[in-house]
């Protein structure tokens, strides 16, 4: 057995154990992290709704209600209790999966969230896929031909779309694709149950509006990362060895250039999930954004807390997935 073989045997013996331990520790750490984030975020959510003027009862009962009626309703829902006590009560129920009942519509919060989530999730996933589908080929191509006509045009477009707010893009798309050409509906939603074609027909314009707003950041980031990877020695080596340009770009350049892109895409995913309020409202989509837009001014505290929990959980889970993706992309990460 050579020295090298012995060393390999040693490494292969110890690696699995430390690897498992490391995994367990990292999963434990992440779970703790999740719990801490959830507690802080929901507490902040509750505290912020508390800072808003007006009590939930006065909103439910309207401007003509008497002070006694308001006090009675606040007591019924427990809104006369101190903030911390209310939060702990809510937390106790939340742990058992009971997020309470909307004080506006009387519907269970979990039921409403599960009804809204698929809409926002579909919108978010499709918007992200579409923006990546535009950004990745465009960025790689532009980077490999730096300062070419194509590079300059697409970079210009990216800067343009980046500086136009999504509601402007949305209104323009409505006009062009809806009102003028009538290719797509101007607003509304068809669930998947009414057929994939119908569903995509309704979701396409909002997805495009979001994707056009997101792709510039992806494009610019990936373009600059690809340009710097192209200057690495191993790319020069591959080129010298006569490998085809396209093959090098796909097999050697894209993978090491996509770390920042994945991080940014993950953040964008979280942001879109929580913040497509403008697009959902413009296109009248029954997702989480419209729900938030309705619940926050109405001080529907259980519903706001439900949305906050859902978004926080999704954020943390996405971060976990991103970490796992790093390991997939770069084997070195698996050992660290």
């Amino acid at each position: 057995m050579t020295v090298l073989q012995r060393e390999r045997a040693r490494v292969s013996n110890i690696r699995p154990r430390s690897h498992t331990l490391h995994r367990l520790r990292s999963i434990g750490g992440r779970a703790l992290h999740l719990v801490a984030v959830l507690v802080l975020v929901t507490l902040a959510g509750t505290a912020l709704t508390d800072l808003m003027p007006g009590s939930p009862a006065s909103i439910i009962l309207g401007p003509t209600a008497s002070d006694e009626a308001i006090a009675a309703l606040n007591a019924e829902y427990g809104y006369d209790q101190p903030l911390l006590l209310r939060y702990l009560q809510w937390l106790g129920n939340a742990i058992t999966g009971d997020l309470g009942v909307s004080i506006q519509s009387n519907q269970p919060v979990v039921e409403v969230l599960l009804q809204r989530l698929p809409v926002t999730l579909e919108l978010t996933v499709l918007a992200l896929l579409l923006s990546l589908a535009i950004a990745i080929p465009a960025a790689v191509y532009a980077a490999s031909r730096e300062n070419s006509m194509f590079d300059r045009i697409v970079s210009g477009l990216a800067s343009g779309f980046m500086s136009v707010p999504v509601f402007v893009i949305g209104v323009l798309l409505v006009y062009v694709l809806g009102v003028a050409t009538r290719w797509f509906p101007v607003a509304g939603w068809a669930p998947l149950s009414s057929g994939l074609a119908e569903n995509l027909h309704f979701v396409f314009v909002p997805v495009l509006a979001l994707a056009l707003g997101e792709f510039p950041a992806f494009y610019r980031l990936l373009r600059s990362d690809v340009i710097s990877t192209l200057r690495e020695d191993f790319v020069q080596t591959a080129t010298v060895r006569g490998m085809p340009r396209g093959y090098i770009l796909r097999r050697h350049v894209l993978r090491p250039s996509s770390f920042s892109l994945i991080t940014v895409a993950a953040v964008a995913f979280g942001r879109l999930l929580a913040g497509s309020v403008v697009v959902e409202s413009l296109f009248a989509l029954p997702g989480l954004g419209s729900l938030a837009l309705q619940s926050i001014p109405a001080k529907d505290i259980p519903m706001i807390q439900g949305i906050v929990v859902l978004v926080a959980v999704t954020y943390v889970l996405i971060n976990a997935v991103v970490d796992a993706t790093y390991a997939l992309l770069d084997p070195r990460m698996r050992r660290i």
Binding site: P53, S58, P63, T64, V186
Partner: protein
């Protein structure tokens, strides 16, 4: 790996193309009617502004704004009586008659015979009393309770009852036809804790499916009390927040009608897109409210100064193009419209003199405008700030608040200086009186003038149009002189619709009556 990626990419592309080529669903249309007579059949989609978040309980009909619950309730519960959105004239529907005694202290309400709710229980006198007593019950917490305060009910037989009022009111039919006109099944209210989300009425349509923020589908009530009505097979209500998008859905054929909301500028864009507009111009409208209990507007000179400083013609042109400055609180074709315009011409010098005079008295006019965060009101606030800032000794700030804060701060606590509300005035009863009489339901200004109270009272209890006219002219003159409120735009309730949709009748503040809607073939 590479193959599966290609498949995924191909699937995505195929899906997008499928989406591109798919067509909008076509609504089924009834057969053509060359003579314009109503035809049966068809499914209509109607776009509203806001979702019925709290469900559809008639005891919680907060306001009659047609972009919200009033339209849905009209389809599900129908109306006992309806008041014409333009004239305020009261017409029977589920009810047969509503007659006062001589002094207006007792009203006899008679119902049509044999009406049943869609759960099979009868809509009889007992059911009406059940609904009204529920509204009165403090435990219900109904915002309508004030309208029935002190009233008592006696059931005479299955179809008639008397309503005894604590004070004479010969115009009570107008109150009933606007705010107390929807009756729900007592059985459903008693047995279903979630009744508001499963409403049961005796209206032309029955709730079939409701996906919040997406659509509410109502189907024809086969047992509706009018033979052959409603004409439509189904109605779908869809809420869309953006008013331009509401009109777009109609102009692109996605929907048959839309309620654009309070801004009149959308009327022009709708007719520009080849759509029909059914409208009901009334008196009243958006108005500035001065809090007469707080400085600086507890001094009539401050209110007068603002009135003289503003050019309302300019304001309407800037804030809501296509609207106009009102000449009176009463609609141009109402019996009460004055022979001479009550419009106060702007007089900047006089306004500046008043502002200076107030400053010299140590009462410089400095105030905040508390406004909801919606287009029309925000623009009005900005307009006021920019125009009034051109004067010396005036300082104006804008406080934009959400509706909940507005409810609490302005409408409940009256902790404001200048704010606004929209008060449509078909007949001066009940809205105009509620606004101006001492302690009136919408008198958030804290305004009180015994002369106004007396005139409103005498108009309320007179059936003589001439007498009522004199009284309302007196009220209007006092309001122009004392300026507790200042009208800033004319009012017009309207619904935008495709030419195929016919039979639109606007009642209340502009909601539709659903038994008579019908669709012609395209």
């Amino acid at each position: 790996m590479r193959t599966s990626r290609r498949i995924a990419a191909a699937a995505l592309a195929a899906a997008m193309i499928a989406g591109l080529s798919a067509c909008a669903p076509e609504s089924s249309s009834p057969s053509a009617s060359p003579d314009g007579e109503p035809v049966a059949g068809g499914d209509a989609t109607i776009i509203l502004g806001i979702e019925a978040v709290r469900g559809l309980d008639p005891a919680f009909l907060f306001n009659l704004t047609p972009s919200g619950d009033a339209n849905r309730m009209s389809a599900i519960y129908d109306v006992l009586f309806w008041s014409d959105a333009k004239t305020g004239e009261v017409t029977p529907q589920l009810g047969e008659s509503l007659e006062p005694n001589d002094d207006g202290t007792e009203w006899t309400l008679t119902l049509n015979e044999g009406i049943t709710f869609t759960d099979g229980t009868p809509l009889d006198a007992e059911a009406v009393v059940f609904n009204y007593e529920r509204i009165q019950d403090p435990a219900t917490g109904s915002p309508l309770a004030g309208l029935l305060e002190g009233a008592s009910f006696t059931v005479a037989d299955d179809t008639s009852l008397t309503i005894a009022l604590p004070e004479p009111n010969l115009q009570f039919d107008r109150v009933l036809a606007t705010s107390l006109t929807h009756i729900a099944s007592p059985t459903a209210i008693e047995n279903d804790a979630d009744f508001a989300n499963n409403p049961v009425g005796a209206g032309p349509f029955v709730l079939e499916e409701w996906v919040r923020d997406d659509h509410m589908t109502l189907v024809r009530n086969e047992d509706y009390f009018k033979e052959g009505e409603p004409y439509l097979d189904s109605i779908t209500f869809t809420p869309i927040k953006d008013p331009t998008q509401r009109i777009n859905t109609v102009s692109t054929g996605q929907a048959h009608a839309a309620v654009p909301g309070s801004e009149l500028s959308f009327k022009e864009s709708a007719t520009g897109s080849g759509l029909e507009v059914t409208s009901a111009p009334t008196g009243g409208g958006p108005l500035l409210m001065f809090n007469v209990e707080n400085a600086p507007f507890d001094d009539v000179r401050a209110r007068k100064a603002v009135q003289l400083a503003l050019d309302i013609n300019d304001l309407t042109a800037v804030v809501d193009p296509g609207s106009s400055a009102p000449e009176s609180f009463y609609a141009p074709d109402s019996a009460f419209f004055p022979s001479e315009s009550m419009f106060v011409q702007p007089d900047k010098d006089a306004a500046q003199e008043l502002f200076d005079e107030l400053a010299a008295d140590g009462k410089a006019v400095s105030f905040a405008i508390t406004m909801p965060a919606s287009g029309f009101f925000t623009r009005t606030a900005e307009y006021l700030q920019s125009r009034l800032s051109q004067f010396d000794n005036v300082s104006v700030t804008i406080d934009t608040v959400d509706n909940a804060t507005l409810d609490e701060r302005v409408f409940r606590n009256r902790d404001y200086q200048l704010s606004a509300q929209i008060v449509p005035v078909g007949d001066p009863e009940p809205n105009f009186a509620k606004l101006l009489q001492t302690g009136g339901q919408t008198n958030y200004m804290g305004y009180s003038n015994p002369e106004v109270d007396a005139a409103l009272e005498s108009a309320r209890n007179s059936t003589d149009e001439g007498e009522r006219g004199d009284a309302y002219a007196t009220v209007e003159q006092i309001i122009v002189d004392e300026v507790p409120v200042l009208l800033v735009r004319n009012q017009e309730a309207y619904t935008v619709h495709a030419t195929a949709l016919n039979g639109l009748t606007l009642h209340g503040d502009g909601s539709l009556l659903y038994d008579r809607l019908w669709l012609a073939a395209p």
